[in-house]
Every structure is written in structure tokens, then in C-alpha cells.
């Protein structure tokens, strides 16, 4: 497939010229639509509301050579027993074929209806997706083991991955996504997951981000829920140079439940931007959102949560909370919880707090012999525990703990 990019002078044009058009069997029309959208577009600037606090100038000025370095470290593993898939630098190298296949091997009939929203990174993803997983859980099937999807990079390459996750009626599954990169990695990773939940189905996703390189990471979940379904997405950003998470949930069936939890613990110049949209299209639903963050050094966090309640979507309970602790003079937080309500019989609320650790609590712990450092770590871990307590899988929790201990040198003994 060939294409010409007319606007090679633009930065996005240059960026696109380094990409190869997707060979996945999406509808030709959808791909054309995405390409048309990208035509004459530029990377978003902070003048655009959705990117108000996240500068992409560094990304637009980076050229990606496509170089791939061999992985030096062992590939992380969260679960002892799981359906395990590994993407090394965007290539599927390990798979448990009984549960899912590469999206490249999926017949195009199964990909009918997959389109991109008019959003730059989503359109890029559709037009240039290299690979991805296609997970389809049949009706009334409960997946016994967690599905573990690990993406490790050590490259200077732009990678687009597209996952499709479909749960049939009354199906249940738990998916752990791990994004890791090595110190020297400085690539671009753009992952979009299309998630569809059937009636009465239950899906839990743990998204663990622990990239050590200077990568640009964009990750997006587009979910649609049918009635009586439960969706839980836990987003944990433990490390990452520039991380943008977009969680978009359309609640299209009554009596559905949506839980979005997030924690971010950042240091140095790291930046994480969490955007969530919960769109209540129908009545009698419940959504909960809890995002907590700790910011060290010169790190920056952005939270933008949006709850829509559409006309006639009555009896909605929607809660949204964002709390931040700033640990240094140079840390930065921008929080924007939003409500847009068009129905009257609803209970919607949101809260946002920003502050620092309580001096008297630190004093209390120090008086009991803890060093300042461990006193602070203990309080920070207590602060984050609200979010971690929502995670029911012990293996995931242990993994998070071990990463945090390593990344932030947490030690409660000394």
C-alpha cells in the first residue's frame, strides 16, 4: 500500500513519513477516514483544551530512526500462572494462542465497525497500527487465569499497537497490561484498546506503566458497556517520561458499573496526563473514579476527568475524586474534574485536593524512631493505599510494591 504525504513540511508530516501504513484488515473506509483526518494536521499545542498542560514540542522535534536495541534486562512478569503475551519492541514474541491471537491474523469481517474517533493519536494508531491482540471471550465464559500482556521497548522507533478486547454476555476476565522500557529507550508508543463488554460481563484491567527510558507513551482505552456489566480499569503510572492516558467509557446499558482508579508516583522530570471520560448515555448506572498522585522533584501531573450525564439518563450516581501530594518545590499539578449534567434526578459529585504531607504526622513517626525518609515513604504509601486497596489481585499488588521500592527507594525498616 502506498500513500503520499503532501505536507512533508509539517512536523506531523515528517513523523508520518517514517511510519508504514497498517497491514491489519481494518475496513479500508475507516483507514481512509483516519488518513483524511490526519491530512494537514499538526501535533496539538497547549492552546488546545485537551493538551492545555502537556507540551508535545519535544515529541514533535524528535525524529525516530527506527533503531531497535536488544533487550538487556529480563522481561517483567506479574503473574505466576497466566495467559502470557509479550511484545518486544512492538513484535509479538510470546503468546498463549488458546486465548487470543494477533490482530494481524484476524479476518477482516471481525474488524468491521472499528473506527477512530477524530483524535490525532487515535487516527494515527488506526492508520499505522503494526500489531495488537485480538481477545474475544465467548458468552458465559469465565477466564480462569489472568491475561498478561507485556510490552517492553528498547528502541528509537514509533510503534502503534491496537488491541481489541471483546467480552461476550456474562463473560469474565482479568487483564494485566505492563508497559516497560529500558533506560536507553527513547521511542514512541501509541496503544489503543477497543473494549466491548457484553451484558452482565465483568472485566478488570490493570494497566501498569513502568518505563525507565525517555519514551513518549500514549495509551487509550475506548470502552463500551452493555447492561449489567462491570468495568474496572486501574491505571498505575510508576515511572515514565511523558505518559498520556485516555480512558473513554461509554455506558450504554442500564445498571452498569464503571470503576476507574489511578495512582501516579512520579519523580525527576516525569509527566503524566490522565484524561478520563465517563459518558452516561442511559439511566440507572454507577461510576466511581479515584485518582491519587505523589509528585517528587520536577514532575508534573495532569488530571482531567469528565462525567457526562445525557438527557434522560436519570438515577445516575457518579463520583469523581482526585488528590495530589506535592513533595517538592518544583512539582506541578493541574487538576480539572468536570461535570456536564443534562438530567435532573442524579447524584454527581467531584472533589479535588492538593496539599503536602502533614508535618505532625511526620513528627509522630520520627518520635517513634523512623528516619525522615522512611516516615515520608510510609505516609506516601498510606496515601496511595486508597487506590491500591481497590486492586484485589495480590500478585499485581506485590508487583507494584516491588517496582515502587525500587523506583523510589522505599524502605520502612531504616
Amino acid at each position: 500500500m502506498e500513500e503520499t504525504i503532501s505536507t512533508t513540511a509539517s512536523k506531523l508530516g515528517v513523523f508520518r513519513s517514517g511510519l508504514t501504513l497498517t497491514s491489519i484488515g481494518f475496513e479500508r473506509e475507516a483507514i481512509n477516514e483516519a488518513l483524511e483526518y490526519l491530512e494537514n494536521k499538526e501535533f496539538p499545542t497547549t492552546r488546545e483544551e485537551a493538551w492545555k498542560y502537556t507540551r508535545l514540542s519535544k515529541l514533535s522535534n524528535t525524529s525516530f530512526s527506527g533503531n531497535i536495541q536488544p533487550l538487556l534486562k529480563s522481561i517483567p512478569s506479574v503473574h505466576n500462572d497466566s495467559f502470557r503475551f509479550v511484545f518486544e519492541n512492538g513484535t509479538l514474541t510470546e503468546r498463549s494462542s488458546e486465548i487470543a491471537t494477533s490482530i494481524k491474523e484476524v479476518s477482516s469481517e471481525k474488524l468491521i465497525g472499528i473506527k477512530s474517533e477524530p483524535q490525532l493519536f487515535e487516527a494515527l494508531n488506526l492508520a499505522y497500527a503494526e500489531d495488537g491482540l485480538f481477545i474475544e471471550i465467548p458468552n458465559k465464559t469465565i477466564v480462569q487465569k489472568p491475561i498478561e500482556l507485556i510490552q517492553v521497548s528498547n528502541n528509537n522507533k514509533a510503534t502503534n499497537l491496537r488491541h481489541i478486547i471483546r467480552l461476550g454476555d456474562f463473560a469474565e476476565a482479568e487483564i494485566t497490561l505492563v508497559y516497560a522500557s529500558e533506560e536507553k529507550s527513547n521511542g514512541f508508543l501509541n496503544v489503543v484498546s477497543d473494549i466491548v463488554l457484553g451484558k452482565g460481563s465483568k472485566l478488570t484491567i490493570h494497566k501498569l506503566q513502568l518505563e525507565n527510558g525517555t519514551d513518549f507513551h500514549f495509551s487509550r482505552e475506548n470502552a463500551k458497556q452493555d447492561k449489567d456489566s462491570t468495568l474496572t480499569i486501574n491505571t498505575l503510572t510508576l515511572s515514565g517520561n511523558l505518559v498520556r492516558n485516555d480512558v473513554n467509557v461509554k455506558v450504554a446499558g442500564q445498571n452498569a458499573e464503571t470503576n476507574l482508579n489511578g495512582a501516579y508516583i512520579l519523580k525527576n522530570n516525569q509527566l503524566v496526563d490522565n484524561h478520563t471520560v465517563v459518558d452516561h448515555l442511559v439511566a440507572h448506572c454507577q461510576s466511581n473514579e479515584l485518582y491519587k498522585g505523589v509528585l517528587y522533584d520536577k514532575s508534573t501531573a495532569v488530571f482531567n476527568g469528565k462525567v457526562f450525564v445525557r438527557p434522560d439518563a436519570q438515577k445516575i450516581n457518579a463520583f469523581q475524586s482526585n488528590a495530589n501530594v506535592l513533595m517538592s518545590d518544583d512539582a506541578n499539578v493541574n487538576s480539572k474534574p468536570e461535570l456536564e449534567i443534562y438530567a435532573d434526578d442524579v447524584k454527581c459529585s467531584h472533589g479535588s485536593t492538593t496539599g503536602q504531607l502533614d508535618e505532625s504526622a511526620i513528627f509522630y513517626l520520627r518520635a517513634r524512631g523512623l528516619s525522615e525518609k522512611s516516615a515520608k515513604s510510609l505516609l506516601v504509601s498510606a496515601f496511595i493505599s486508597d487506590v491500591l486497596n481497590k486492586i484485589k489481585n495480590q500478585e499485581v499488588l506485590d508487583f507494584i510494591q516491588s517496582v515502587l521500592n525500587k523506583e523510589h527507594d522505599w524502605d520502612f525498616e531504616a
Binding site: E49, Y53, P311, D312, Q314, N324, L326, M327, S328, D329, A331, N332, V333, N334, S335, K336, P337, E338, L339, E340, I341, Y342, A343, D344, D345, V346, K347, C348, S349, H350, G351, S352, T353, T354, G355, Q356
Partner: protein, 482 residues
């Protein structure tokens, strides 16, 4: 009325007509329709303005020409044609009145309908009223008493003539001409407004108040208010608006600047009841106002607003907390009905150490209206120990209205403490049940709950103003607020 339900209330709200819709028949002196440098020069010469002010206007006009109308607000309206507006209209009698008896009886009648009988106010309440009838002030009272204390309270045009140094020093210092589209427009074409200066250490003994009324058809009002509180002084300033009923949309783009120097305190209260349009959403005033205050060390600015009118409201009274220990407050009740749209809130910019801000915003939407809170809390790097508390509640009265919250919270200092919370709901059935179970009729119960809901803000209004505010709230929510 024992079976008065929320649905009935909603119906009442929808059928509520504008009560202050009347046009006073006074000859007015209007400049030709349109906006260009000649019009600005004409306005300036009509007002006998000094050269520097004309230059200020022309500079602002140049800036405005290159600006585009902001579109980010959550409102939808037919944009006004700025060339179809007459930018100046003044009651014909330019002669100042010698005594109260000389005042046009028609105008007296207007004031009576508004509930401001000047004689009575002079005698009983101790409120000095600077009544602005379409841009030129026609009656000023209590001037003598204020003069004794050194307080200057006059129309903006008088201030330009009599206190040019003060005006020149402070005008545009908080809201520069480049600030936004409407502020630039106002800077170019403003006709009149109020000016107030409180000298060092003086506590203004009475509430200063100005009533604005839009009158002549097709004239936008471009008011300019400047309040300067010198070191250690205190002033409470009241502003109230009602407008006659009219079919075409009228534009109101005011600029209000408050300057609180060291240890000073300004309390600025507004009751706004411009014509909101009829039940079909036809007509109504566009209220695009820029209000901002700056606080020096230990100073305090408190905004209180009761917004019941206007077809479209775009208004963010803000505080720049520049000095250490300064305090900013914002208390707001915004009621929208029928097809009204409001996008209102505040900005609290913390620059100095130990600065504090409180935001209490209560929105009530009824009919098919859209009511949004949009606010910014910004803690800058040097604002150690800054403190903010925000609470934004929305009450939905019908299933066709909307209530939205868009808070922006930006923090660059780790010692700051920021709290924001917002809720959206309708009147709780359990609350209603609780009241009714104790023998309170449903109507009374709704009134009780709505009253209690707004109490936090209404309590902030000065005594003299509370009556007027309650009157307007009662008109907007008749049948529920007693």
C-alpha cells in the same frame, strides 16, 4: 396549595414573566449606530474628555479590532453585530439638578418601581445612591457626608474631570485593555460608570450603591467601575441591575476594577436581573462582564453576586492575591430559567505568601436553561502556605435543564492546600419527605430547602441589599422562595 409539587414549581418557573419589564419614556441623546474611530472621538468629545483618555480609547479600539470573540464558554447565542449598536445614549437634560424636586417625575417613577425611593433612602437607610440612567448619572446623594470623610464617590465622567490623576493611575491597572475581547471593547467605548476612592484609614460609614438600567432601545451599556480603597480603608459597594423588557438582544459589557491597597477591604455585592428573554428564549440581555480586583498586603476583596437575569451571562469576578496574607472571597447564587444560559465563576490567582481564598457557588437551573460554573484556582510558585476552599453545588429543577462544573486547579507550590468539591443533584426526596412528615407543606418545604441551599451566599449580602436580593430571587423562583 397542599399538593404543590416539584413539577408545579417547574411549571411556575417556566411561566414566570419578567416583572421589571417597562420602558421609561425619556428623550435620549444617541450617537449614530456603528463603531469606528469617529464614533469614539464623538463620544469622547461629547463627554469633554482629556486627550489622554481619547488616546486610551483609540488604542483599545485598535487592539479590539484584531481580537476575536471568545468561544470557549458553555453558551450558545447569536453573536451581536457590533456595527449595529449605538454606543452612546444619555438622557437629554445635561443640566444637573439643583434639588430633588427638579428631577423628572418619570425618572422618579422608574426608581419607585425599582424600589429605590431616593427621598426615603436619604432619610431612612443611609444608602447613598448614584443612579445611572443609561450611562449618565442624574442623581447623587449624600455627597456632602462622604466629602467630609474625604471619600470620593461620583460618576466616572465626573472623576475624569475632577480627579484625573487617580483615574489615570488606576484605570486599566487590573483589567488591561488587552485582557479580553469585551474588556477591549469596553475600554474603547465606555460611556460612564462609577468611581469610588476611600482615603487612607477611612471606614466608609454607609453602603455605596449604584443602580444600572439599560433604557434606550439598541444601546449597549458599557459601564466602567473603578473602586480604590487606600491603605487600611474599608468600603462596601453595591451594584444592582434591572432592565426593561425588550425583544432584540442587548449587549452589556462592563468592566469593574477593584484595587485594595495594604490592609484595605472591599466588599462588592451585585444583584443582577437584566431582562432574561421571554419563555421562548427570545430577546434578553447579553451580559459579558470583566470584573477583577487586586489585593495588596493584608488586603481583602469579597465578591458576592446574585445572578437571576440575562439571556447569556459570561462573568468571572476574580481576585489577584498579590500581597502577603491577602484574602479573596467569592459567593455566588446563579439562577437560570427558561432558555437562559450562564457561564460564571471566579478566578483566584495566588501570588503572595499565606494568601487565602474561598469560593462558594450555588447554581439553580430550571426550565431549559444551562448553568455552568467555571473557575480557576492558580497557586504560583512563591505563594507559600496558600489556602483555597471551593464548593460548587448545582440544583436541577427540571429534566430538561443542565448544570455543569468546569474547575481548573493549577498548583506550583507544595505548601499550598487546595480543596475543591462539587455536587449536582435535584432536591432530595428524602429531604422533602422529612419536612413533609413533620407537617410542612410541600411548597413550603421546597422553599425551605432552596432557601437553605442559598443561605451561605445570601448571608454575605449587606443588610441594605438583602431585601432587594430576596425580592429578585423570589421573582425568579416564585412559588418556592417565600
Amino acid at each position: 396549595m397542599a399538593n404543590y409539587t416539584e413539577d408545579d414549581l417547574a411549571k411556575d418557573l417556566q411561566s414566570q414573566e419578567y416583572k421589571f419589564g417597562f420602558v421609561t419614556d425619556i428623550e435620549t441623546d444617541t450617537v449614530p449606530v456603528g463603531l469606528n474611530e469617529d464614533i469614539i472621538k464623538l463620544i469622547s468629545s461629547k463627554k469633554n474628555e482629556p486627550e489622554w483618555l481619547l488616546k486610551y480609547r483609540l488604542d483599545a479600539f485598535k487592539i479590539w479590532k484584531d481580537m476575536i470573540e471568545p468561544e470557549w464558554a458553555h453558551v450558545n447565542y447569536q453573536k451581536p453585530d457590533f456595527q449595529a449598536i449605538a454606543y452612546y445614549s444619555a438622557p437629554k437634560q445635561t443640566k444637573k439638578y439643583e434639588s430633588w424636586d427638579d428631577v423628572d417625575p418619570e425618572m422618579k417613577e422608574t426608581m419607585k418601581k425599582l424600589g429605590i425611593s431616593l427621598e426615603e433612602q436619604q432619610r431612612l437607610t443611609g444608602v447613598a445612591v448614584d443612579f445611572v440612567m443609561d450611562s449618565v448619572s442624574v442623581a447623587t446623594s449624600f455627597k456632602e457626608k462622604l466629602k467630609e470623610l474625604g471619600i470620593i464617590f461620583c460618576s466616572f465622567s465626573d472623576a475624569v474631570q475632577e480627579h484625573p490623576d487617580l483615574v489615570k493611575k488606576y484605570m486599566g491597572s487590573v483589567v488591561p485593555t488587552t485582557d479580553n475581547f469585551y474588556a477591549a471593547l469596553n475600554s474603547a467605548v465606555f460611556t460612564d460608570g462609577s468611581f469610588c476612592y476611600i482615603p487612607k484609614g477611612v471606614r466608609c460609614p454607609m453602603e455605596l450603591s449604584t443602580y444600572f438600567r439599560i433604557n434606550a432601545g439598541g444601546t449597549g451599556q458599557f459601564e466602567r467601575t473603578l473602586v480604590v480603597a487606600d491603605e487600611g480603608s474599608y468600603v462596601s459597594y453595591l451594584e444592582g441591575c434591572t432592565a426593561p423588557q425588550r425583544d432584540e438582544n442587548q449587549l452589556h459589557a462592563a468592566v469593574v476594577e477593584l484595587i485594595a491597597l495594604e490592609n484595605a477591604e472591599i466588599k462588592y455585592s451585585t444583584v443582577q436581573n437584566w431582562y432574561p428573554g421571554d419563555k421562548e428564549g427570545k430577546g434578553g440581555v447579553f451580559n459579558f462582564v470583566t470584573k477583577r480586583g487586586i489585593c495588596e498586603r493584608n488586603a481583602k476583596i469579597s465578591w458576592t453576586q446574585v445572578e437571576t437575569g440575562s439571556a447569556v451571562t459570561w462573568k468571572y469576578p476574580s481576585c489577584i492575591l498579590k500581597g502577603e496574607n491577602s484574602i479573596g472571597e467569592f459567593y455566588s447564587v446563579a439562577v437560570t430559567n427558561n432558555f437562559q444560559q450562564a457561564d460564571t465563576g471566579t478566578k483566584m490567582v495566588h501570588l503572595g505568601k499565606n494568601t487565602k481564598s474561598t469560593i462558594i457557588s450555588k447554581g439553580i437551573s430550571a426550565g431549559k436553561s444551562q448553568n455552568s460554573y467555571r473557575g480557576l484556582v492558580q497557586i504560583h510558585k512563591n505563594a507559600n502556605n496558600a489556602r483555597n476552599f471551593s464548593q460548587c453545588d448545582s440544583l436541577l429543577m427540571t429534566d430538561q435543564c443542565g448544570a455543569h462544573t468546569f474547575p481548573y486547579i493549577e498548583c506550583k507550590n507544595p505548601t499550598a492546600k487546595i480543596e475543591h468539591e462539587a455536587t449536582t443533584s435535584k432536591i432530595g426526596e428524602d429531604q422533602l419527605f422529612y419536612c413533609m412528615q413533620r407537617g410542612i407543606s410541600e411548597e413550603k418545604a421546597i422553599s425551605l430547602i432552596v432557601n437553605g441551599y442559598c443561605k451561605e451566599v445570601l448571608n454575605q449580602l449587606p443588610m441594605e441589599f438583602a431585601v432587594e436580593a430576596q425580592k429578585l430571587l423570589a421573582i425568579s423562583l416564585e412559588g418556592s422562595v417565600g
